[in-house]
């Protein structure tokens, strides 16, 4: 089995975190985004992974080399000279995707969900058509491109972009499985798979939809990264509660969904949760309140501080009686002094903050 992951560019939407690490390596619930996807793909029997990238940072090559060894798979970088959109990369990687007749997965690197690759494959093989789109249901379909199927069927009839009237609430989840023949539909030029390839496939009655169970989130920007973490942790609480901090054994757990790396140290009198992810070697002082936040590796959260709805990047520190809120994002090695209030600030790496940031802004 083969898979292509659409990584794309520099991940500017997830800055300041992506100023330090390429987006696929930014830890989502203590594990690089791309590792979540590779693990799920390996489980479904994938042995060949293609990363479609606009650039190839050294750090990514070396990390993925490790994954190749760990999982016994082949990872290939397919580097675009110009951005090829969402379909072009398939044509660029033709030699790998079309090396045999087996279908291949395509996924957007920003999407998190309970990847149902095995089920998708079984479904795809059963209907025998060229492609299957994973679909997720949303509350407000008017904001998305909606999939319209034949009645009582999974066969896609058409797509309606940002429908004014309700035509359905299934949207494209950014994860697909295709037969190699799809590559014949794609020229090697910037092409949108959603706008140019799918409508043609639907017209040929070659495209089915498969419903995703559970959560789904595009985590390409900080607000959604936090929301996606919440969804992932909620899902973990149902499926693998043993990976989360137990509210029975840990007084500090409040409301559940708290992921604490085994090397993290937590002080007395803290109240943590719901929806908190704490990375390796993190030190949390006494009387700290954390809620709906992501604390990355080597961070120090000093006593009596308050962090909510924020991301604290690697090697950063938050001073005593400081308060972070409103989707604040601290880049690598950012230091917040004692008693400081930070609201919705995106702070670039290696900064020290000694005055309140009361309104959302970027601190260069």
């Amino acid at each position: 089995m083969k898979a292509l992951i659409l990584v794309g560019g520099f991940g500017t939407r997830l800055r300041p975190l992506t100023l330090t690490l390429p987006k696929p390596l930014v830890e989502f619930a203590n594990k690089p985004m791309i590792l979540h996807q590779i693990e799920a793909l390996v489980k479904a029997g994938v042995t060949d992974v293609v990363l479609a990238v606009n650039y190839k940072p050294e750090v990514m090559a070396s990390v993925l080399k490790k994954y190749e060894e760990k999982f016994g798979i082949k990872i290939t970088f397919s580097v675009e000279n110009e951005p090829l959109g969402t379909a072009g990369p398939l044509a660029l990687a033709r030699s790998i995707l079309c090396k045999d007749d087996s279908p291949f997965f395509v996924l957007n690197a920003d999407v998190t969900c309970d990847y149902p690759f095995k089920e998708m494959l079984a479904f795809h093989t059963a209907h025998g058509c060229e492609g299957t789109i994973l679909a997720t249901k949303v509350e407000e379909p008017s904001k998305y491109g909606v999939i319209v199927t034949e009645s009582n069927s999974s066969l896609i009839k058409c797509f309606v972009e940002k429908p004014v009237e309700f035509v359905g609430n299934r949207i494209n989840a950014g994860i697909y499985i295709f037969n190699p023949s799809i590559v014949d539909r794609i020229e090697l030029r910037p092409t949108s798979i959603e706008k140019e390839i799918f409508p043609a496939m639907a017209a040929n009655e070659q495209l089915h939809t498969f419903d995703l169970e559970g959560y789904w989130m595009d985590v390409g920007q900080p607000k959604d990264f936090i929301a996606g973490t919440c969804l992932y942790l909620s899902s973990l609480a149902k499926k693998q509660p043993e990976l989360l901090a137990s509210p029975v054994d840990n007084d500090f757990v409040n409301g559940g969904n708290v992921l604490v790396h085994p090397t993290a140290v937590i002080g007395n009198g803290c109240k943590i949760g719901p929806n908190v992810s704490i990375g390796p070697n993190v030190i949390i002082g006494d009387g700290v309140r954390l809620e709906k936040c992501v604390i990355m590796e080597d961070v120090q959260i000093k006593s009596y501080s308050f962090v909510r709805n924020s991301i604290v990047g690697w090697h950063s520190s938050v001073g005593s009686w400081s308060r972070l809120d409103g989707v604040s994002v601290l880049g690598d090695d950012v230091h917040i002094n004692d008693e400081i209030y930070v609201n919705g600030a995106q702070i670039l790496p290696h900064k020290s903050i000694s005055a309140n940031v009361t309104e959302p802004k970027i601190v260069m």
Binding site: G269, S303, Y304, F306, R323, D325, Y341, N356
Partner: protein, 417 residues
């Protein structure tokens, strides 16, 4: 012998001191651990020849009774009296009305102080200057930054900086950077001058057609403004001496300005009476700078307090709490890990765990910037009126909260009615 009159205003005054004046008359509000007016009484008690201190205002007499009873015990050599003005007579009208009582007993000099100021009150120096100048009155003035001068009464001094040449109240344009501190000393001659002013004015009035003015201005000759009517005349007649002080001084007009006043008095207490202030000890909380903690208050040893904090009676401060540049009034409970910074927490208030109450530091510039009902312009100390409850984890920032409100979501730059 010398006497002093402190002008305490009335209940309908001091609206800028809301919401704190809704519970307590402004003169009795505590800064530096003592009522605002106590600092004036204390300074007067150290001034030579003071035998009597009179509070003059529109409040009902009982308002100051217990305060004056305490003063009588604390300052046994001085007689205390409250004189109630029966009507709005202007800042000097009340003084004139009670002139016989004030002059009674061979009074030589009369100190006159407004209550809404804080200062080191160098009254002895003021008196010396006054006696040297042999003028009817001497005004204590302070040099302020040029751009702030128009907020005050401005005094133009002669070349030797001894006598005032001109007095003008809150001029629109720049006149002088020497401003009135609201502290004066007069000889009893001032009452003669006041009589003259009133006489002149009634003469002017009687020359006008009576019908046109009588209804509206029936009592106008009783109303007398100290600044515009009396001081201006004194200055123009070269009868107003000046004493320039370089000690601390600021107005306590808005409720927010109580915080810097508190800080000034605490720093002064650090020098004059350090035993009144909290000291760092191994079993106690971390103390930074000047901090007053009432003996009946309890503060957890893991809390960090200061600088410039007053914690009043029966207050309870929880574990890991942080209090900085704030006044915490009687019976307030600050629960664990809460932070109170640049704020006043009113009587019986409750601040929840991990809650935060924070204002911007008050300075000369933003204290004059008034707040709008839309709440956008509030840019100062955070003030919680009596019995405000701030729920756990809630942040109240740069807001003013009227009494008896419960706050369960974050508030920024708002007035909460």
């Amino acid at each position: 012998m010398n006497k002093a009159v402190i002008l305490v205003g009335g209940p309908s005054r001091a609206t800028r001191f809301r919401p704190l004046s809704m519970n307590l008359p402004q003169p009795l509000f505590p800064v530096g651990g003592k009522p605002i007016i106590w600092h004036q009484v204390n300074a007067l008690s150290k001034t030579p020849g003071i035998t009597e201190i009179i509070l003059l205002g529109l409040f009902e007499a009982h308002v100051f009774k217990s305060f004056l009873d305490q003063c009588t015990l604390e300052f046994p050599k001085i007689e205390f009296k409250y004189l109630r003005e029966f009507a709005l007579l202007g800042t000097a009208g009340g003084l004139f009305h009670f002139r016989d009582q004030i002059m009674h007993g061979n009074t030589k000099n009369i100190f006159l102080l407004y209550t809404d100021i804080c200062s080191a009150f160098p009254l002895t120096e003021l008196l010396e200057k006054h006696e040297q100048s042999k003028s009817i009155g001497t005004i204590m003035v302070k040099k302020v930054p040029r751009e702030l001068a128009s907020n005050y009464g401005c005094v133009v001094a002669d070349s030797e900086k001894k006598m005032a040449l001109h007095y003008v109240e809150k001029p629109e344009t720049y006149v002088s950077d020497l401003v009135s501190t609201g502290v004066y000393v007069f000889t009893t001659e001032i009452f003669k001058l006041m009589s003259e002013i009133i006489e002149e004015r009634s003469k002017e009035l009687s020359n006008l057609p009576k019908k046109a003015f009588h209804d509206n201005f029936g009592n106008i000759h009783d109303s007398l403004r100290l600044e515009q009517d009396v001081l201006q005349k004194m200055a123009s007649e070269h009868n107003l001496g000046i004493y320039i002080t370089d000690t601390f001084w600021r107005q306590i007009k808005s409720a927010a300005s109580a915080v810097p006043a508190n800080a000034e008095y605490l720093m002064q207490t650090q020098k004059s009476n350090p035993s009144m202030l909290a000291k760092q000890n191994p079993e106690g909380p971390t103390i930074i700078g000047s901090v007053y903690i009432h003996p009946s208050a309890s503060v957890d040893p893991t809390a960090k307090i200061g600088p410039n904090v007053s914690i009043h009676s029966r207050v309870s401060i929880g574990a890991g709490a942080r209090i900085k540049n704030s006044i915490i009034l009687d019976n307030v409970v600050v629960r664990d890990y809460a932070a109170v910074i640049n704020a006043i927490v009113g009587w019986n208030g409750k601040i929840g765990r991990w809650a935060r109450v924070e204002g911007n530091p008050c300075n000369d510039l933003n204290d004059h910037e008034y707040v709008t009902s839309a709440g956008v312009k509030i840019n100062s100390i955070c003030i919680l009126g009596q019995e405000t409850i701030v729920k756990n984890e809630v942040f109240v920032r740069s807001s003013i909260v009227l009494p008896y409100k419960e706050i369960s979501s974050d508030k920024h730059n708002e007035i909460l009615m």
